[in-house]
Symmetry: C2
Subunit: 320 residues, 2 copies
DNA sequence: GCCATCGAGGCAACCGGTTGCACAACCTTG
DNA sequence: CAAGGTTGTGCAACCGGTTGCCTCGATGGC
């Protein structure tokens, strides 16, 4: 099988500790010995076993990244940014998908606990209480959720939602449908909070919904029936599903109903009509989260990133 | 810190080996003792350290899954299917993205080697030789690549490409552009092979290209200039980029040029015109790959999955 | 009543590394 | 030339489990 530290030690007539030091503390070993060891190691194809090393040092140089749904185009850019950032710091990132299931999420975290030095939790579906409990075993950085005393990367959803509502108000919309996401989503709560506090609006809530096209498609009939002239959707996928659903009922967007999404994903840009949306800084969030995880002694720094409204073609003057 | 097996042993007055057996060979321990141990373990929040266990047993119950680009919508369904299948067999899957870079790919495989029981290699960019070398250290299943003696899950690209070309021929197309993918892609080679062997066609090759919208956009001018009335693109993303690029030059699809992609991803279904494409069975591939990896003693079984042509709106009669 | 059998659990070596400490050889310095 | 300092390496304990082997007491058959 693969060569171990012992094989190398034997093959060059030194003690294993010398081989070990050659790799983890090169300055402690005589240059001549070192190069001999390196030569033999290379010859045997030796590579330190990271799991074994982690056992004594307590450091794995791995990070975990847990997302609710990889197939949501919002996540891949965040994942890639996080991986790139981690790679620059000599870390590797293991990604896992929870399928939007809190039980799977917990299970994954427990599995990851001893195999990584920290976990990035993206848009978690677990309760705050559970996350706090799990945080005793492994450092976390949470993305898109505010939990007291825990490092977090937030996107300013409230601000974005405010801009979106303002934009709709400017276009003359008063009765607005709010199509929320899944239970346990912080983003969803933020949106609802802002909307509820905005004066002069006539809101209709729909939720919880699956955060996918399917979710959007499913509520389309109800939204159409409720008399709203505009919709604020949980995310772009829901918005796209909604538009598809409305189109099937021959309700034009934005002529009859205006639609705004969240995230600014690629399919939204390619869609006809091009989607008006609140852009979320996914790459920056991925990078920041890694930095926070690696630098922080675990104390709860919180970073809030800005969002911006991007007006395209799916919003227009209110239909009377 | 987290409780270890020793803490549990001490707290219930038994030897560590008894605690160990309680978890890994329950039938060897007295039911009364076992339940006492379980109670104490639960109380202390003990969970076996998987890395430590792996050190002696040689099994981690983890699988690695390496893809070239997570943000290509083709992969997420495959990833999810693989994860679900693995979960059913008590395995966990760690996903990593190589950014289409063979060096990163190699690095990732080496890192993963000792931390997983096997690796699923999706559309690798490494050379066959290198993959064979790495396979000495960890079992592989390769997806979308044929390597002698190595278990593989293939999709019948040749058959799909044949159907696509036939479809185009039926529509009267003779001069056809072949927009290939990145260097090192087996899929790309298969496509070219079939096309070259199909009689009666007038082929123009373009490549290598980035396997993304950007890649498609970039070749659009050349494709437009080459006089072809139809295009077979490396994948749907390239096809979409191409259509976008042609649209910018006011060249209508399918009126002036017909376009066929590969994969059948969601954005292709939402696009106007809806994309004609060769559907690849991504979920089935993910599941099969996991099965192959877990069951096979490593001997090179190869599974080939069927592809199908899905005719939508991006292909039409040849423009004279 | 004796011996073979069996179930339960302890002992200790081992997986592949890391690291504090000891020690020997060599080098300074006064 | 003795005292004190460096440098390079070996020794052995340790990380958190697993597992082959052994012991011990209880049971059962004859």
């Amino acid at each position: 099988m693969a060569a171990t530290i012992k094989d190398v030690a034997r093959a060059c007539g030194v003690h294993v500790s010398t081989v070990s030091r050659t790799f983890s503390a090169p300055h402690l070993v005589n240059p001549a010995t070192r190069s001999r060891v390196l030569a033999v190691a290379d010859d045997l194809g030796y590579r330190p076993n990271r799991a074994a090393r982690a056992l004594t040092t307590g450091r794995t140089f791995n990070l975990g990244l847990i997302v609710a749904d990889i197939s949501n185009p919002f996540f891949p850019p965040l994942i890639k940014a996080a991986q790139a950032q981690a790679r620059g710091r000599d870390y590797h990132v293991f990604v896992a998908d929870t399928d939007e299931d809190p039980r799977v999420e917990e299970e994954l975290i427990r599995t990851l606990t001893k195999q990584v030095d920290g976990v990035l939790l993206c848009s978690p579906r677990l309760s705050n209480k559970m996350i706090e409990r799990l945080a005793e075993d492994v450092p976390f950085v949470v993305i898109n959720r505010r939990i007291k005393g825990m490092p977090a990367v937030l996107m300013n959803v409230a601000h974005g939602a405010g801009l979106a509502l303002e934009h709709l108000a400017d276009l003359g919309h008063r009765r607005i449908a709010l199509v929320s996401g899944p239970i346990g989503s912080w983003t969803s709560n933020e949106m609802q909070g802002v909307a509820a506090e905005t004066p002069g609006l006539d809101l209709v809530f729909f939720g919880p919904n699956q955060p996918t096209e399917t979710g959007g498609l499913a509520v389309a009939p109800e939204v159409a029936a409720c008399g709203a002239t505009a919709v604020l959707a949980y995310n772009d996928l829901v918005a796209l599903g909604l538009i598809e659903g409305l189109a099937a009922m021959e309700i034009g967007v934005p002529d009859r109903i205006s639609v705004i999404g969240f995230d600014d994903i690629l399919p939204g840009r390619l869609n006809r009509p091009k989607l008006t949306t609140v852009a979320m800084p996914a790459e920056a969030a991925g990078r920041m989260a890694v930095d926070l995880l690696l630098q922080s002694g675990g104390e709860g720094a919180t970073v809030t990133l800005d969002t911006a409204l991007i007006v395209r073609e799916s919003t227009g003057k209110a239909h009377k």
